[in-house]
């Protein structure tokens, strides 16, 4: 029996139901942000800095303003409130973690591609011409492009403050130095990971207009409609005079968690009183939007001869780029998860995020976890090799379990089945593949990961959902989710249908509109199913309870004996008495009993004690899992062929099996790209991989089918015991692939991506030091 055939206690939950949005997407009928056009729309373009570090001496917009067809040219002085605090759909302030958000560059530019001026014109061509007519005089500055350099006391100051350090955190548990002194094996390495781009299919896009009630309305591709507050603050408008609508997104992956086009559109529409549209080209998108943080990570790991981890010391330096954005949060995630899903009595983590004149960095699937996972999972294999243990055997001795403490002292409360995921992932690789030629080497690797789902407990996160019956038995859900392509709205429909005893087709979900749908928070942080799923579940259950109570009264039975399914109320054990859903709905309506409910779900909340010293519970919960990979390395060219990929995760409970599988497959592919290929290259702050012919992501021809294994512990905090899977599915994929490469060639590379050139260089150097390489040989896996 496969997992999919297992009998389930649910009617619809866990089934592989086609998503309600699937067919439209296959037919190309789904409307994305750029597909909407208002009558009389003007076209916007953004003038971006040609320098990574410069002072702005002057900006002359007069020639551009005089051009026929140009309706507005805006610079920093035209922005009512050009500087605010970076917030991301928060309803609770968490001081110490928020940085400067500057709409348009003022006096100083901090990264190449920073927005300097905005234009709205009758045609895109006129707008482009107007950009070239804007005369900006820059005074180039030396800049600083390496976070380690930027930490030095005499380094160039990226911002206006007297330090480039955005934030620093530490974790202290036990005494690492004493543990290192006593340990049998100590392994020390420095790891580096590059900038990454999200490469969503849909670049940033939106249209803004002023509606008939004078409300500034923005329809944009965003993961956070609650940026409406930030937009209102920037324009100094009341919050209830700005509305943000998010249609279906062509992907987000964290890149649309920051404000992208919204503020520019709002400023131009407010100035011109005309609808204004702005869609980035791919080049502009790669140049100007956030990147995944590059890290320098120094790891020192110690174990006893019998294979027990005793200490881990980590120093993390993160390149925040030109502005803080989400860097403080991302670094906090890295700090908490720096030691991975392992029980380690002595932990010391020091982490710093540092401004440079590189493109700013912010959220990217995994949010600080993939960087450290690459480091700690490389360390695990390196320590195992020193101990003469297989990677699996060593990990099995050290995995965290329910009740065990993280480095912060927080004891895990939910199900932790990392052992089972690791055993099953490795087993699913099956028989080893034989090399196809004498030049090919085969290797296998595993990597386990832990990744939070739900936002930081400091944020007092909440979500709201409205569920209501219509009189004909159909259902409306109103929930402010942003559907970024992960099946977010479809899962909400499925949960609602499960509880209310109707089919998924009976449920319509209105989503992503700050004026019409109750606010549900961000579609980020692997939180939407957890938070809005729970809010929807709560609302649906309230509606169900009201109807069941009424039906019980009508059937003269106690409510706990009423079964509600297939649009019928029955008395359990009594075949003769039943009521149709419509009969009960009509009775409720007649008696003034609400057919709807608006529910709020609140996540666990904690106060920030001392932000620099990371202690206790930081996240609501974590998802655990393991990736396994088999690769072939061509020793002549250094090219890697990924032969097999497996993702095994405790998902708690799959809500929609197809969506969960899709997340596992996509996340695994994303991680494999991080391992082997993806690399935003910057040359003194200038992005030199600004298009998809130079920023390479894996294609369908580059990866095998992903084998997905879902374990359903039911032990998550989401609806029906679900855990989040969106980000966790990606985190441990990269180190599984790089561990397989290390197994194949007998040399561990400590820098991503593990490119053909880096592999071949290592092999050439390895030939020269063959004895040394043999001593670091990675043993057989199991």
């Amino acid at each position: 029996m496969t997992d999919a055939d297992k009998p389930t206690k649910y009617r619809l939950i866990g089934l592989a139901l086609p998503r309600h949005d699937a067919l439209d997407k296959v037919y190309g009928q789904t409307k994305y942000a750029d597909d909407f056009t208002m009558p009389g729309t003007l076209h916007a373009k953004v003038l971006r800095s040609r320098y990574a570090a410069a002072r702005i001496v002057s900006i002359d917009t007069s020639a551009a303003e005089r051009m026929p067809g140009v309706h507005a040219v805006l610079t920093a002085r035209d922005v009512p409130r050009n500087e605010t605090t970076s917030k991301f759909g928060q309803t609770h302030s968490a001081g110490g973690f928020e940085g400067l958000y500057r709409v348009l560059a003022d006096k100083k530019v901090r990264y190449m591609g920073e927005a300097v001026a905005l234009v709205a014109a009758e045609t895109p061509e006129t707008a482009a011409q107007a950009l070239r007519a804007i005369d900006v005089v820059y005074e180039p500055q030396p800049g600083v492009f390496d976070p380690v350099e930027a930490l030095k006391p005499d380094a160039y100051r990226v911002g206006e403050e007297d330090t480039n350090v955005v934030c620093s955190y530490k974790v202290r548990k036990g005494d690492v130095d004493a543990a290192f002194a006593r340990a049998d094996v100590v392994v020390e390495n420095e790891y580096r990971v590059p900038f990454g781009d999200h490469v969503y299919l849909e670049p940033e896009s939106g249209t803004a207009w002023i509606d008939e009630d004078g409300v500034l309305t923005i329809r944009a591709s965003t993961q956070v409609i609650e940026h409406f507050r930030d937009v209102a603050d920037i324009l100094r408008l009341p919050h209830n005079k700005v509305r943000v609508i998010a249609p279906m997104l062509g992907g987000g992956f964290g890149g649309k968690e920051d404000i992208t086009v919204e503020a520019y559109l709002a400023l131009l529409a407010y100035r011109t009183k005309r609808p204004v549209k702005l869609t980035y080209t791919r080049e502009e998108s790669i140049l100007s939007h956030s990147k995944r943080h590059p890290y320098v990570m120094r790891y020192k790991t110690a174990a006893t001869a019998d294979g027990k981890l005793v200490a881990m010391e980590c120093e993390l330096i993160s390149d925040a780029g030109g502005y803080p954005f989400l860097s403080p949060w991302v670094l906090l995630y890295s700090t908490v998860m720096a030691t991975g899903p392992y029980k380690i009595p002595n932990v010391k983590v020091d982490a710093h995020a540092v401004l440079t004149n590189n493109t700013f960095t912010s959220a990217y699937r995994g949010f600080g976890a993939p960087q450290v996972c690459f480091a700690y999972e490389s360390q695990m294999d390196a320590v195992a090799a020193q101990l003469g243990l297989t990677p699996l055997a060593f990990r099995m001795k050290n995995y965290l379990h329910t009740g065990d403490e993280l480095g912060t002292g927080y004891a895990l409360e939910s199900a932790v089945l990392t052992d089972e995921t690791a055993e099953r992932a490795l087993a699913a690789l099956g028989e080893p593949t034989k090399p196809r030629s004498p030049w090919e080497k085969i290797g296998r690797g595993i990597a386990s990961g832990m990744q939070s789902y739900g936002r930081l407990v400091y944020l007092h996160d909440s979500s709201r959902s409205f569920v209501g019956f219509e009189l004909d038995g159909t259902v409306v859900v109103r929930c402010g989710v942003q559907d970024i392509g992960g099946g977010q709205t479809s899962s909400i429909a499925q949960i609602t249908a499960e509880v209310l005893g109707v089919s998924m087709q009976d449920v319509t979900v209105y989503f992503g509109d700050t004026a019409l749908t109750p606010l549900a928070g961000t579609t980020t942080a692997t939180r939407m199913l957890y938070m809005s799923g729970n809010a929807t579940l709560k609302a649906a259950r309230a509606v169900r309870d009201a109807l069941v109570t009424k039906a019980a009264e009508m059937l003269d039975a106690s409510p706990d004996r009423i079964a509600m399914a297939d649009k019928t109320f029955r008395v359990v054990g009594d075949k003769d008495h039943s009521l149709s859903l419509i009969e009960v709905l009509e009775a409720c309506a007649s008696d003034g009993i609400p057919l709807s409910n608006l529910a709020q779900f609140n996540a666990p909340a904690r106060e920030v004690k001392e932000s620099a010293n990371v202690e206790g519970q930081i996240h609501p919960d974590y998802t655990f899992g393991t990736h396994a990979a088999e690769v072939a390395v061509d020793t002549v060219t250094g090219q890697v062929t990924v032969l097999k990929l497996v993702a095994a995760f405790d998902v708690g409970q799959a809500i929609n099996r197809l969506s969960a599988e899709g997340q596992l497959e996509g996340g695994t592919a994303c991680g494999a790209g991080y391992a082997l290929l993806e690399d935003v290259k910057m040359d003194r702050g200038r992005t030199v991989t600004c298009a998809l012919d130079t920023y390479l992501v894996p294609t369908a021809a580059d990866l095998p089918d992903v084998t997905t294994i879902m374990i359903e512990s039911g032990g998550g905090m989401g609806p029906f015991g679900a855990k989040g899977i969106g980000e966790p599915s990606s985190t441990s994929s990269a180190p599984a692939v790089t561990n397989a490469v290390a197994d194949a060639i007998g040399i561990r590379l400590t820098r991503l991506p593990v490119s053909p050139e880096r592999i071949l260089t290592a092999l050439k150097e390895g030939q020269a030091k063959r004895d040394d390489a043999v001593s670091r040989r990675v043993p057989e896996l199991a």
Binding site: T637, T699, D702, T761
Partner: protein, 299 residues
Amino acid sequence: MSLQSYVRPRGLDDALAALADPRTRPLIIAGGTDVIPAMRKMRLGEPQAAGDDDDRPGVVVDLSQLDELRGIGEKDGMLLIGAATTMGAIARHELVKDRAPALAAAAASVGSPLVRNRATVGGNLATASPSADTAPALLAANAVLGLASARQGRREVSITDFFVGYRRTLLQPGEIVAYILLPLSRGLVRGRFEKVGLRNADAISMVCVAVEMELDGRVCREARIGLGAVAAVPVRAFAVEAALKDREIDEAVARECAKLVHEHISPIDDLRASARYRSWVAEAVVARMIIDMACKARS
């Protein structure tokens, strides 16, 4: 507006006539896979900036529908390929796969299915990118290119003379590549192509190599080796070929001969790979291909 017109001639003579007047600043398009990205960079849709000399193209001449330039056939014991034949058509063609396998493999390695269904072999040569994947295969096949223009009429040139510098060919203004002729491999002559890219689709070569070898048992009677992405132009490795001639091939011989590839290559650092990597891989891949082909011939 810079771009005045688009023409799609019905016959080759009309096409050559449309290209004859340089004052119209003609831009040839066939598959468009090089031209369209270039046009975007040239901002052809925008008005000329004040005071700038407009040297951007004025007329686009579309050769993609000219029957005279499309198709694959046999002529006088040679393989004849129209220059506007797509990479996809070449890669799929049974005669090419059987009798010019290096070219078939090279065409199959270009871009992705979407690109291969538009990109043409003539365009691949005329653009003259150092990494043009069909160039090494045609160099190894000793292909002849048929050129045509209104002014000079028809002429045939060897592909070894065609590339004269970085992205420069001996095509004169108004002249096009009309067809490609290559000897059908026969008997013991075999061809191979290998592309070293960063991924398996939509990747530009870091190194690409084509080898044609006539083997008599383990003895190499003749070899021709073409390489791409390792010099300003696609190159022949004449020194390696000469060293292999009439030698009995084993692994040591192959490695020794392959070292001579450095006489012909002068790779550079770029985003995809360093010069050092390209040097290593060019030599090692040439050696491996020779060894593989000789082993295959033995067995």
